[in-house]
Symmetry: C2
DNA sequence: AATAATAATAGGAATTATTACTAAAAGGAG
DNA sequence: CTCCTTTTAGTAATAATTCCTATTATTATT
């Protein structure tokens, strides 16, 4: 465990989760200004491989990293991009039943309009002057 | 419907599905050598928006495009990258029940070892000389 | 059919996210 | 402390995709 890796780890543990590599890089830089982007990427990949953190892949946006390693999925607002956790009990079984071969991993991403953006969209389309 | 768009459409319809933008570009170029990559990308995005085709996003590999617009999911071999369709009846309901807000779209991608690659892995690890 | 207005294209530059490379620094075993 | 391995910082390179612009095609209008 190098000092750099500890800083990265602390940034992720000190957050609410769902940070991008870039966000982690800038937060880590506050604690250790000499840290380099390559180091952040390499450590994030290593930590994902070791299942210390989870890599979240969302189509059309950069990868996010989650301190929560308990299986769960994510919903992503189509407008603002904000991520929220969502539990889908039964998804694992559903997949196991449908796929005969051994599953290595799976990832589900759901696009929706978050309450904030949905409210904004309503007022905009509802008002007289668009 | 421009000539270019028709060529792109024909390439996709003439395939088994699951082509990348690059593959579509090169196949389209055979029928229309002047076609440009930007045109292919733009038309694929338009056609996806109009739901004439489906964009398949797989973490770690370029987008693929599918002529099959009936809801279904994909399994991707972790070794060779080959894509196969998989039906997951009940997934839509599972998501609807878990997410209170309106869902715009969702996509599931499953990583596994395809039969061919699994066989290769077995003979390699099983033999005396690795 | 000629002309004007609009939309789409080809070709290339630019962007984004990420990985690869390399020389220097750090860390550990003996 | 010295040798050996690992990791780092910094930079260059890559991959996929988007953006830009002058040109070309298409459509509408007269």
């Amino acid at each position: 465990m190098t000092a750099q890796r500890k800083v990265i780890r602390d940034v992720i543990w000190g957050s609410d989760g769902h940070l991008t590599s870039e966000q982690i890089y800038f937060l880590a830089k506050e604690k250790m200004p000499s840290i380099s982007l390559g180091t952040v990427y390499r450590n994030l990949s290593l930590m994902s491989d070791e299942k210390e953190i989870t890599r979240i892949s969302i189509p059309g946006s950069p990868d996010h990293f989650d301190k929560n390693t308990v299986p769960h999925q994510h919903i992503c607002c189509a407008k603002c991009g904000r991520l929220e956790d969502v539990e889908l009990p039964g998804l694992g079984d559903l997949i196991k039943n449908a796929v005969s071969a051994d599953v290595i991993s799976y990832s589900l991403s759901i696009k929706y309009l978050c309450p904030d953006c949905a409210a904004k969209a309503r007022t905009e389309s509802g008002s007289d002057r668009p």
